[in-house]
């Protein structure tokens, strides 16, 4: 039984980067100075993942303001009002689809930093899942949400995999957050992406998915994650798909009890006998940088322990 480990989602900026970014915005430092600090921050965040021996190395999306902003640079999509991101003190700009979006080839290459990731490791990337993207957007002028999102995400995934990403993590907090997610809509959106089925994983958080395994198992994806801060491990059923356990709590600085998690995950492995993966439950961006680093290292230690 194989155990994979990786971090998923947008990562926090370190204090130095936050400061230089503010200075850059205020016109107090040049773009070159800002870029130097950003580059160093990117390299650091890659190194720590490599040092921890993670199965995949996540793209350092430390310069992303939210999951949708890069897409609002495309023709047809506008960045709308600041809106609360689920139950957090974090706001995102609501995407407004004013027309059917026109995908621009090179968007993913331009907005991620794959060139910084060493060639001998497998890079992965986080993108918004089409269901959550649809739920958190506004559609105007008769734009068909399903068609718009399917086409947009198809193109983004195609580009991501063509430029070297091994897997794409599609973030779908809406599946966990909603009491009764729209199964037909979900299946329909993901069926449009089935060309990439073996390379996409769904990351769920902000809610209990213990009773939603019928939906998750029906999606054309390689695997799905379960946020153990909301879902009891006993309620997670065995699956033909890869189950990724969100064991690291990115919403609390309280450091996890590694022994307790080890026992939780081991219990599932004994019960279901399949491969599993471990990860953080949601974006580490919800934590201060130094705590996020501590938790990344904790995930690395847990991975070593589980691999024996």
């Amino acid at each position: 039984m194989n155990v994979e480990g990786y971090i998923a989602g947008i990562l926090p900026r370190n204090d130095g980067l936050i400061k230089i970014w503010k200075m850059y915005e205020a016109g107090r430092v040049t773009e070159d100075v800002f870029r130097d600090v950003l580059d160093k921050s990117i390299e650091d965040i890659i190194s720590i993942q490599v040092e921890n021996g993670f199965t995949y190395i996540h793209a350092p999306q430390i310069d992303w303001h939210d999951y949708f902003r890069i897409f609002t640079e495309l023709d047809g999509i506008k960045a709308g009002p600041l809106t609360r991101y689920f139950e957090n003190n974090t706001l995102y700009r609501k995407p407004i689809f004013e027309e059917f979006p026109k995908y621009r080839e090179g968007l993913i290459a331009d907005k991620t930093h794959i060139r910084y990731i060493p060639r001998d490791v497998k890079p992965i990337l986080s993108l918004p899942g089409p269901y959550t993207f649809l739920r958190l957007s506004l559609f105007k002028n008769g734009v068909d949400p399903v068609k718009a999102l399917s086409t947009l995400m198809y193109n983004a995934l195609k580009e991501a995999l063509s430029i070297g990403y091994s897997k794409v993590i599609l973030h779908e907090p809406s599946i966990a957050y909603e009491d009764d997610p729209d199964k037909d809509l979900l299946v329909s959106l993901y069926s449009e992406l089935k060309d990439f089925q073996s390379n996409i994983r769904v990351h769920t958080y902000f809610g209990d998915v213990g009773k939603k395994s019928d939906i998750l198992n029906e999606l054309d994806v390689e695997g799905y994650s379960v946020d153990l801060q909301y879902t009891s491990v006993e309620s997670v059923g065995c699956s033909d798909k890869l189950v990724i356990f969100g064991v690291i709590d990115a919403q609390n600085t309280l450091i996890e009890d590694i022994e307790y998690i080890y026992n939780q995950v081991s219990g599932y492995r004994e019960r279901c006998k399949g491969d599993i993966a471990i990860s953080n439950n949601t974006d580490l961006d919800f934590l201060p940088f130094t705590v996020a680093i501590d938790k990344i290292n904790l995930l690395g230690n847990l991975l070593k322990r589980l691999r024996g």
């Binding site: 900026r13 204090d15 600041l82 689920f86 003190n89 309280l254 009890d257």
Partner: protein, 356 residues
């Protein structure tokens, strides 16, 4: 103190002058004590009070010059919560977030001196904004209470809920309530409890309501509340259970900039229909200024927003304010926005036969 119809107010924060930013930076970097920068704070406080009064607001505060920001300030005076680092609010805007490591204890009633100072320099009625217990709890990493609950019950959601409730109620009883009672004794005109986090966890609304009411228990002063960037449908279900006279809410951020009174144009305010259907009977602080853009709302646009709201809210219940604190805008931009707001109110007052 009698207010005119459609009283105008600021929500709380206002951009600090550059010289005060520098003073605060010295304080935050440990190069100066609070007492060292207090004269600079007081200078900015007086300037801001006068600016807001000159603009013509009916109820004023000093733009929170005495505070770095709404979370940082109270946490500095609560033993048991310690700062752990910066966490993003949006884009590259961050706030210093704390973690609770033991039962919180009030070190000092942190609002008395600033209130006395503002009161002594204001000629208009004063409203003091205070960060509420639920928001303080929600914006703090809950280490202490969670460590007591996380392995006690097998359902992780229940563990989180219990930990959050204990923490929030401790803040309401032991931190907020003594502060509010002390202010009440000093006959403060209005106390605004800021609870931007109120509706962020719908399942925790009972905690918010219980803590709010616990915090104001025995408080004689008029208590109002400010909530923003939230789902007001969630709030509506509890709106009559919360012991507040007013809800000051954000709407302009969700609205269009077009003129008119149609629902599609005034889409930021259409929720007010549901307020009426729900029998909303409190004062409403109507957000008519978007604090996240330099766009100066024209007087006519603000008028349309007010007129639309008047379809659903009784005129004697309507207060006019920006969506939220204006600290995100330059002082010049904020002043222009507020001046237009006051101009719009002058026009609507005339239409309602108010001549002063």
């Amino acid at each position: 103190m009698k207010l005119p119809i459609f009283p105008t107010q600021e929500i709380g924060s206002f951009r600090k002058p550059e010289y005060l930013f520098e003073a605060w930076r010295r304080y935050l970097d440990g190069e100066a004590k609070y007492s060292d920068i207090l004269p600079t704070i007081e200078k900015a406080s007086i300037e801001t009070i006068k600016l807001l009064e000159d603009i013509g607001l009916d109820i004023v505060w000093d733009g929170e010059m005495h505070r770095w920001e709404m979370y940082h300030y109270p946490v500095e005076y609560i033993d048991g919560i310690e700062f752990v680092g910066q966490v993003r609010v949006f884009d590259n805007r961050y706030f210093p977030k704390g973690r609770v490591v033991k039962k919180p204890v009030l070190i000092k009633n942190y609002h008395i001196e600033e209130y006395q100072f503002v009161k002594s320099h204001a000629s208009k009625p004063v409203k003091i904004p205070i960060t509420g217990p639920y928001t303080l709890a929600d914006w703090t990493y809950n280490e202490y209470y969670m460590s007591r609950w996380r392995y006690k019950v097998s359902n992780p959601i229940k563990a989180r809920y219990n930990a959050k409730r204990e923490f929030t109620l401790d803040l309401a009883k032991n931190i907020l309530n003594p502060i509010l009672k002390e202010l009440s004794k000093r006959r403060v005109f209005r106390i605004q409890i800021d609870e931007p986090a109120a509706t962020t966890h719908p399942s925790e609304m009972p905690i918010f309501v219980e803590a709010f009411n616990k915090a104001v228990e025995g408080v004689k002063a008029t208590v109002t509340t400010h909530i923003c960037y939230s789902d007001y449908r969630i709030l509506l279900r509890y709106v009559h259970d919360i012991k507040t006279k007013q809800y000051a809410l954000e709407f302009a951020n969700r609205d269009t900039r077009n003129r008119g009174l149609d629902d599609d144009i005034r889409r930021g305010y259409t929720i007010l229909k549901e307020f009426k259907e729900y029998g909303f009977d409190r004062e409403l602080g109507l957000g008519v200024i978007d604090v996240h853009t330099d766009f100066i709302e024209p007087v006519e646009l603000i008028l349309d927003r007010i007129k639309y709201a008047l379809k659903y809210i009784e005129p004697d219940k309507l207060f006019i304010n920006p969506d939220c604190g204006l600290r995100t805008r330059s002082r010049g931009i904020a002043a222009k926005k507020l001046r237009n707001m006051v101009e719009a109110v002058k026009i609507i007052r005339k239409e309602y036969g108010y001549s002063k």
